[in-house]
């Protein structure tokens, strides 16, 4: 059975990459994982286009949970999800948890075979 994919979105490429490193240390290659950070000009910020790509890279039949840091990351992630095919939109959720801790917990849950909703709520309830 496929496991829930995880996308890490930060304003900072380094934070996103570092968080992904910590996730990999926990769960190895067990789950689909992608990360992105930085605005379309390469500065601090987020980009709808790269978030869309990351969702595609972490795609799973079990769904994808998107972890975000600050406001713009959430707004841009919502926009990216709305621009997906209608069938895919319902399988992607944004998780409102602290980025690093939430990503590690969400990844651990996913690697254990939890559903999309379970992955999201475990990270949010921490």
């Amino acid at each position: 059975m496929s496991k829930v994919g995880l996308v890490i979105v930060s304003h900072s490429r380094l934070v996103a990459e570092g968080t992904a490193d910590m996730v990999r240390q926990m769960v190895g290659e067990d789950i689909p994982l992608a990360w992105c950070g930085g605005d379309p000009g390469g500065g601090l910020g987020t980009s709808v286009e790269t978030i869309q790509q990351a969702i595609g890279d972490a795609w799973s039949e079990a769904g994808v949970v998107v972890m975000v840091d600050l406001g713009g990351a959430e707004t841009n992630s919502e926009m990216a999800i709305e621009l997906l095919d209608e069938a895919r939109q319902k399988q992607v959720v944004i998780c409102n948890a602290p980025l690093v801790e939430g990503s590690v917990i969400a990844a651990a849950e996913s690697s254990g075979g939890a559903s999309l909703e379970e992955v999201k709520s475990s990270a949010e309830e921490m």
């Binding site: 304003h11 605005d39 379309p40 000009g41 500065g43 601090l44 910020g45 987020t46 980009s47 709808v48 286009e49 600050l70 406001g71 713009g72 707004t75 841009n76 919502e78 926009m79 621009l83």
Partner: protein, 204 residues
Amino acid sequence: MPDFSPQLRQLITEVASAVIEQSEHLTALDQAIGDGDHGVNMKRGCEAVMADLENIAAKPPGEMLKAVGMALVMKVGGASGPLYGTAFITLGKLWPAAEGAPERAQFAEMFGSMIEALKARGKADFGAKTLLDVLGPVHAALQGDALPAEIAKIARQSAEATIPLQATRGRASFLGERSIGHMDPGACSSALIIETVCRLMEEA
């Protein structure tokens, strides 16, 4: 009905130029109470619109506005990308199918729908020290018989009226009371856009 496309092309060009020209001022405002990238981001988005202007302007008015919105969504980055993108895409979707421009009352209604879409996108309401605090009074003026010059003045005054407000949404809200005393950068950029449009309507 006269074809509105050439006029809309000019509006888009002038708005993009005005934003690019004022980008340093917008960034300075954002440095005071935000993350200091509003001008840079808006400039990048407007430059993307200008770079694709020939393609964009070849479309009928509604599609033109949607294309502008998509360029902003993709290129601005920061929350203002999805916000301004949503604004233009919503107006584009509601644009009457004809090549002409909507009547005043119809446009006021479209503007109201745009505000609702922005409230949903930003999970914000009036009084949170955001661009909504400019768009609300402008919408009210549009529903009446205010002339373009009067609407431009209302937009500017409303942006200035965000100075004493405390931000409860966006990055500035992290500063709490320290956000008081500065103009909201999004309120400033939206007033700038509205002033530019009004000036062109006046000249038309």
